[in-house]
Amino acid sequence: MSKSLLTVEHLTMRFGGLLAIDDLSFDAAPREITAIIGPNGAGKTTVFNCLTGFYKPSVGRLTLFDRSDRTFLLERMDGFRIARAGIARTFQNIRLFPAMSVLENLVVAQHQKLMRASVFSVAGLLGLASYRRAEAAAVDLARYWLDRVGLVDDADRAAGELPYGAQRRLEIARAMCTEPVLLCLDEPAAGLNPRESAELNTLLLDIRESQGVGLLLIEHDMSVVMEISDHIVVLDYGRKIADGTPEQVRNDPAVIRAYLGEADEDEGAA
């Protein structure tokens, strides 16, 4: 098997008596798009929240391997350290900094790098050339991503003023500005019209190709999932019911049962 980017082993998450994720294991490979799908309430976003440190998993091991082959045990790390290790994410309900400008949103994403360049703000307060260069580089990276998502002309507007689709794209651009190794997208196509979601497909494929970033995707829109995913993991009630290529998953009887609610005697329909 090829080298993994992320391995999830026996991930289990309990909220009191509720078992949200039950012994989930899967791998995500670098330069691949891995989709996590499943009916509502299957535990997809919970998986993301465990991965990005918002929840501490009850059981399980989450390991990230970055480009220089360092390993990070994510289940022991704080959310912001996970982000520094190279996992960026977007949110199901967009979380931009609405009062700040589009460009500022992207510059804030490069906080770590700029903070180091400003030497705890001292070099920045003095206006040293080294800091100014770092800031210019940050703006260049931001400009690159604004160009990629088609928002250059809106750079100085407040992020909250943008139309919904543009906000979605901006959130992806912001995540990419952290220069991640793994990008986690929580329903990026939600609320987009067909044209926008086709553009999103292109953007995501492009990110995978040109940036060498692995993508982890939660999505309901099957036109997105089936078209761009290299690998799909299907969850139902917190358990993995299928794992494979889009072709395999599409024809898997367990998946069809979960989605169409074809009831058999023991389980009953949801």
Binding site: L103, H111, T178
Partner: protein, 426 residues
């Protein structure tokens, strides 16, 4: 005045009666009955006429208000006027700022400037500085701090104690006082990291009270309610501002001037002007640095911040510490200016005034803070003649500002960085 169409008289009457009834219930003990010390000890005096006048005033006042609301266009136009002024100030920020600075520099030498004018301006500048300091915490980082006066007190007492115990000069103690206040900022910040909004406000309020109560009750340390007298005055490069200096030369001898008490007042004025300007430059500068942007991002969305690798703990603590540091600087200036401090000067009302300066000015707006500080400090001074109605006018002015400009006088955010053209506001 012709009643505008669509005014529902029945409803207005009902509301007026209701308001009058509430006024009657409240007014019965407050206006109607009064304790007077008579020949046989305390006696209850009845003032039913006062009560009737009060209730009638509320009744007609409520009606007038309802009609005014019917005549909304005129009211809104007044609001627009305020908006236009705000817009003008916003667009002309740099020239206005320079003009204000120039005026501040020559103010003490103007013909109309007597001791009183300089004193009041010094007071305004203290509040401007406090406002700018609190703006870091409230305006930028979005952490509602109701106990800011605690840091002001820490700064004042640090200098007062060091100055009276070790005879250290103001200039040595100033940075120490700032550091002490910053330390207290971290001390307060640490336990309240998880709190936001109302909860944070309550804890900071408690913190402010704790500091004040400790200062009041720990008599051996702080002199308790008697305060600390004889705090050293600042020196001008080692020159004292007194008629007969104990050691060395005094200012008027060195420059060959005749002695005047005004020299010190003017010197103090320039110290606070410089301190306030440093605060302003610092805040403007840091707002455009990664820390400043992280503060604003934290105010907008903490969860998104974490997902971008921003450490919320350090970011919040740095905001608390820096905001507190400027409070500490202002506090030690306050101590050296008045020469005497006591816990009386650091009550909750001070926190409330500083916070209202920030809120009225428009969160995060530097010039707004100046305007609001002038309004809040100078207006009561001007209205001193109507001393009994001062607070009434003060409250009324505040309500009006909030009705017309709910987000503050100058609520407008300028991006800290622009694509292409560098830089934001001055």
């Amino acid at each position: 005045m012709a009643a505008p169409s669509g005014v529902d008289f029945g409803r207005i009457l009902r509301e007026a009666v209701l308001a009058a009834a509430v006024a009657a219930i409240l007014g019965l003990p407050l206006l109607g009955l009064r304790l007077v010390s008579g020949t046989k000890g305390l006696q209850v005096d009845q003032r039913w006429d006062w009560l009737v006048i009060g209730v009638l005033a509320v009744f007609f006042g409520r009606m007038a208000l309802a009609f005014l609301r019917g005549a909304k266009p005129a009211f809104a136009k007044a609001g627009e006027g305020a908006g236009v002024v705000g817009q003008f100030v916003r667009q002309q920020q740099r020239p206005l700022g320079v003009a204000a600075l120039g005026f501040a520099l020559i103010l003490p030498f103007m013909p109309f400037s007597d001791r009183y004018v300089v004193d009041v301006t010094t007071l305004v500048l203290i509040y401007v500085m406090l406002g700018w300091g609190l703006n870091i915490v409230v305006g930028l980082a979005g952490l509602l701090d109701l106990g800011y006066v605690a840091f002001y007190a820490v700064g004042a007492y640090s200098f007062a104690l060091l100055g009276t115990t070790f005879d250290w000069s103001f200039w040595v103690c100033l940075p120490i006082a700032g550091l002490c206040a910053a330390m207290f900022g971290v001390l307060l910040g640490y336990p309240v990291l998880r709190l936001r909004g109302d909860y944070l406000a309550i804890v900071t309020l408690g913190f402010g009270e704790i500091i004040r109560l400790v200062l009041t009750n720990w008599v051996e340390f702080s002199g308790g309610p008697n305060g600390i007298p004889g705090i050293p005055r600042p020196e001008f490069f080692g020159l004292e501002f007194s008629r007969n200096p104990e050691s060395g030369q005094s200012f008027h001898e060195f420059f060959g001037l005749s002695f005047s008490g005004d020299h010190r007042i003017i010197f103090l004025y320039f110290i606070i002007l410089a301190l306030a300007l440093i605060t302003n430059l610092f805040v403007l500068r840091i707002r455009r640095l990664p820390v400043g942007r992280a503060w604003e991002a934290l105010r907008e969305d903490e969860i998104a911040c974490r997902s971008l690798g921003i450490n919320p703990v350090n970011t919040k603590l740095s905001a608390f510490a820096l905001g507190a540091m400027f409070g500490g600087f202002a506090g030690s200036f306050f101590a050296t200016r008045s020469g005497f401090i006591s816990p009386e000067s650091f009550t909750f009302i001070e926190s409330a005034i500083i916070l209202s300066i920030v809120v009225l000015g428009g969160m995060g707006s530097q010039i707004g803070v100046v305007l609001a500080a002038i309004a809040i400090i100078v207006v009561p001074e001007v209205l001193r003649e109507f001393s009994e109605f001062r607070m009434l006018a003060f409250g009324g002015a505040m309500v009006l500002i909030m009705v017309w400009r709910p987000r503050g006088l100058l609520a407008h955010r300028v991006p800290t960085i622009r694509l292409g053209a560098k830089g934001g506001d001055p």
